[in-house]
Subunit: 146 residues, 2 copies
């Protein structure tokens, strides 16, 4: 059971000291009593908790959700954990779908811009300005023609 000051703890978990304190304020991490004097000391449990938080963040969980996850027990809360994970998966799918829609719209505009005469107005800017008049371009015609 190693004992660390907050600075060493933060370094070990590869986060900033201020981040550790922030997690404490958020209630994700306990604030130990000062061991002697006014300096607080942290054990391996705190480090494990910080690493848990970081990994859960990498999976897309918010700090509020991570607070819930931290409250679960490996042995008795399987269903709850799986439910949270599935919910998160659904959110990720939704975000990916939105990004995918942006992607295809942008891709179409860029292709269009690359394949039309430069004497025409820029299809990107033009479509943003007047999306209603769907301009007929060489590109869109070639698409339509298959």
């Amino acid at each position: 059971m190693t004992s660390m000051t907050i600075g060493r703890l933060a370094a070990a978990a590869e986060v900033g000291v201020e981040t550790v304190r922030y997690y404490q304020r958020r209630g994700l991490l306990a604030v130990p009593e000062p061991t002697h004097g006014q300096v607080r000391h942290y054990g391996d449990g705190a480090l494990a908790r910080l690493r848990f938080i970081r990994r859960a963040q990498q999976l897309g969980f918010s700090l509020d959700e991570i607070a819930d996850l931290l409250g679960l027990d490996e042995h008795t809360d399987r269903n709850a954990a799986r439910a949270l994970a599935k919910e998160k998966l659904a959110q990720i799918d939704e975000r990916m779908a939105r990004l995918s829609a942006m992607r295809s719209a942008l891709t179409e505009l860029v292709s269009c811009c690359e394949h039309t005469s430069t004497t025409q107005p820029c299809p990107i800017l033009h479509t943003l300005a007047h999306p209603d008049e769907r301009q007929s371009t060489a590109y869109s015609k070639s698409i339509a023609a298959g």
Copy 2:
């Protein structure tokens, strides 16, 4: 050339009045001189600009980037517009890649959780807590076995 107060303009563009004012503060939209009295009036140009902003947002552009786009000319700035669009595409791809990584990690964990004995600790919580000890499960074995 219709003339609208800010409320009608906002309604026509399907944004809030406060949002219009916010765009004015950001410099995306001009603040016209009060026509008479203290009430300002807006024309179709302002409406077109608001719609441009909304559509560009749907394509993933930030308000700062939209400010740049609004400064471009359909006829003379094709290259600049295309460059911005391509840059945005790259950012979208990056975000999708990150989401995709989250997605597959979560999917794996959920599957694992569904296919292992409930007498075992929850793989999701366990992996978050101890990612080093990669636990060997019926699921991971079946994967390994092909």
